[in-house]
């Protein structure tokens, strides 16, 4: 019987000749990543066992992005732990350069066929480039920094076949909210998801990153997009490193196959407090908002900023609504500046934050007070995610976010633009 992408990649990274879903193996990693939340804990654990070397300093990346620039004394000390550790062991280290899941692909550090373990659940994002990437914890990270391996259960694979092409305004965020709504927040637990079908061709890299990013909201262990010419071009613009792209055999076993016609998908909004609460934007139109956030590793890409700027150009944000815009990396920030997008945002009355996770996890730069409602292009709308436990977060893509900021309540963009 044929093999899935996940089975092949894991087999090639372990001592096993052949693997099947359900097997537990030790797999060698090509890249390890941790941030200023997971990293300090990993460093402490690493030091507890008096480890004095890492398995390969060129394969470990530490990133300060959640609470940088230093939010308060405590977080400043956490960031210092990973900064000092990176220096001590000569690891790759980035701070203030961007949010990890946008930054690593941009730096050419993510390649198809790689096995990437990141101490952050949204590590799955790199599946947009055909890497087998998955989230681990801090203890995993500590052990892997020393040994170069992580323990893994080989996942079953579910296939999602995309047909047709996207309607106006609709982007990757709407597709993934639609999918999560269909399969539920545990619809892909312990599974790999493969997105295939002719519908994938029309998706920009940004849309693919957004979709891959949120598969973890359905519990997925990892996700794969096929490495087509668009993905190859994206990589070629950033690195000349060689790689091997994998794909599933046609007779591989898939535990579930779902067909989705992209034409059926309209703009989505996930209402509190689960990412699976996706609804057609027209069903929730009118909900009054106190804050709109455009950013995060989900939708802080240049394409998202362009879409938002297209709607905000020449318009003003509703009085008393806070619009916060956060380019996901320094590079995206700079390009947005050069293209004049930032001027549009400033003229519209937005606040522009340096690249950071900030309000996405209720860290800083836009915390919600009791009873407030926000619409965000982020990935989680759990209770208390963005501030007070009695505040509420609605999730949507950049078009709905920008339009709703102008209107002051949730609205379909066509009603603002025309």
């Amino acid at each position: 019987m044929g093999k899935t992408t996940a089975e092949k990649i894991i087999a090639d990274h372990s001592e096993a000749q052949e693997l099947n879903a359900g097997d537990i193996v030790l797999a060698n990693v090509d890249l390890l990543m941790a941030n200023d939340v997971s990293g300090p804990m990993a460093v402490n654990t690493f030091k507890e066992i008096n480890a004095d070397r890492v398995f390969d300093h060129k394969k470990i990346v530490l990133i300060g992005d959640h609470f940088v620039p230093g939010k308060d004394i405590k977080s400043a000390e956490q960031v210092k732990v990973i900064r000092d550790f990176a220096r001590e062991f000569k690891l790759l280290y980035f701070e203030n350069e961007g949010i990890e899941h946008a930054l690593l692909p941009e730096k050419g550090l993510v390649l198809p066929g790689q096995l990437i373990a990141g101490a952050d659940s949204h590590t799955v994002t790199y599946g947009a480039l055909g890497a087998m990437a998955f989230g681990i914890g801090a203890t995993d990270m500590a052990a892997a920094m020393l040994t170069g391996w992580v323990w893994l259960k080989v996942p079953e694979t579910m296939r999602i076949i995309l047909k047709g092409s996207l309607s106006t305004w609709v982007s990757g965020k709407d597709i993934i909210l639609y999918v999560i709504n269909k399969i539920g927040v545990d619809g892909a637990v312990y599974r790999a998801i493969e997105f295939t079908g002719e519908g994938v061709d029309s998706l920009s890299m940004e849309s693919r990153f957004t979709m891959a990013n949120m598969t973890v909201e359905a519990g997925a262990k990892t996700v794969f997009f096929e490495v087509d010419s668009r993905a190859k071009n994206y990589i070629a613009e950033r690195t000349s490193k060689q790689y091997r792209a994998y794909s599933s055999d046609s007779d591989a076993y898939f535990c579930e196959t779902l067909e989705i016609n992209l034409e059926d998908i309209d703009l989505q909004v996930a209402v509190p407090h689960q990412p699976s609460n996706g609804k057609n934007v027209r069903e929730v139109a009118g909900v009054a908002l106190d804050q709109v956030v455009i950013g995060s590793c989900t939708n802080g890409w240049l394409e998202d900023l362009r879409i938002a700027a297209g709607i905000l150009e020449g318009k003003r944000v509703k009085q008393n609504l806070r619009l916060i815009i956060i380019p996901a990396t320094r590079n995206i920030y700079k390009q947005a500046l050069q293209e004049g997008l930032l001027n549009i945002f400033i003229d519209a009355g937005a606040v522009i934050s340096p690249p950071t996770c900030g309000p996405c996890l209720g860290g800083y730069m836009g915390i919600l007070a009791k009873g407030e409602k926000a619409l965000a292009t982020t990935n989680r709308n759990f209770v208390g995610r963005m501030g007070h436990k009695e505040s509420e977060v609605y999730l949507a893509g950049p078009a709905v976010a920008a339009a709703s900021a102008i209107k002051g309540s949730i609205i379909h963009p066509e009603e603002v633009v025309n």
Binding site: M41, I49, I136, A142, A143, L146, L361, V383, K389
Partner: protein, 162 residues
């Protein structure tokens, strides 16, 4: 290992943001984390939880972020094991890695808050002293049992190094 403890009962999809909200992630000190454990879901938890108590929940326990602060906060609170219909995968591996037993059981609906449970981790048998019922868990894979034997992954790795 036999555990005896009282039940704290929760529903489906308990996420890591309610187990330990991100506003407290500026520390990784278990003693600080435990003070805020579960506070957005159940304010009474951190002040009333007793050493040995057991959390019982529905499906997809621990969904959300990869923060190991979540199982650490629970373990530091004195919770001796978590029983759920299913676990989110990163939470499951984090709990295993820090040596906090996590057991998957179908019949969690018939367990109530305050019930007294006797849990035989190695044999995967749970006795409910309140209603006389007994539940079985799926057997743990050998590798995971080995990690529990070493009280966590880092000790397992450290032992191998020697």
């Amino acid at each position: 290992m036999i555990i005896e403890g009282r039940v704290w009962k929760y529903g489906d999809d308990v996420d890591t943001d309610v187990i330990i909200p991100a506003r407290f992630l500026t520390t990784s000190d278990p003693e600080e984390l435990k003070v805020h454990c579960m506070e957005d879901l159940d304010y009474s938890f951190s002040s009333e939880v007793k050493p040995g108590d057991i959390i019982v929940a529905g499906k997809n326990f621990g969904c959300g972020s990869s923060r190991e602060h979540a199982p650490i906060a629970i373990k530091a609170s004195g919770i001796s094991c978590i029983i759920a219909r299913s676990f989110a995968r990163i939470f499951f591996r984090n709990a295993v890695n820090i040596g906090l037993p996590v057991l998957q059981v179908e019949e969690t609906v018939s367990i109530n808050k305050g019930d007294l449970l006797m849990v035989d981790i190695a044999r995967g048998i749970i006795d409910n002293k309140n209603n006389g019922e007994s539940y079985r868990t799926a057997p743990l894979p050998q590798f995971i049992n080995d990690i529990f034997q070493c009280s966590g992954l880092i000790n397992y790795v450290a032992n191998q190094k020697k």
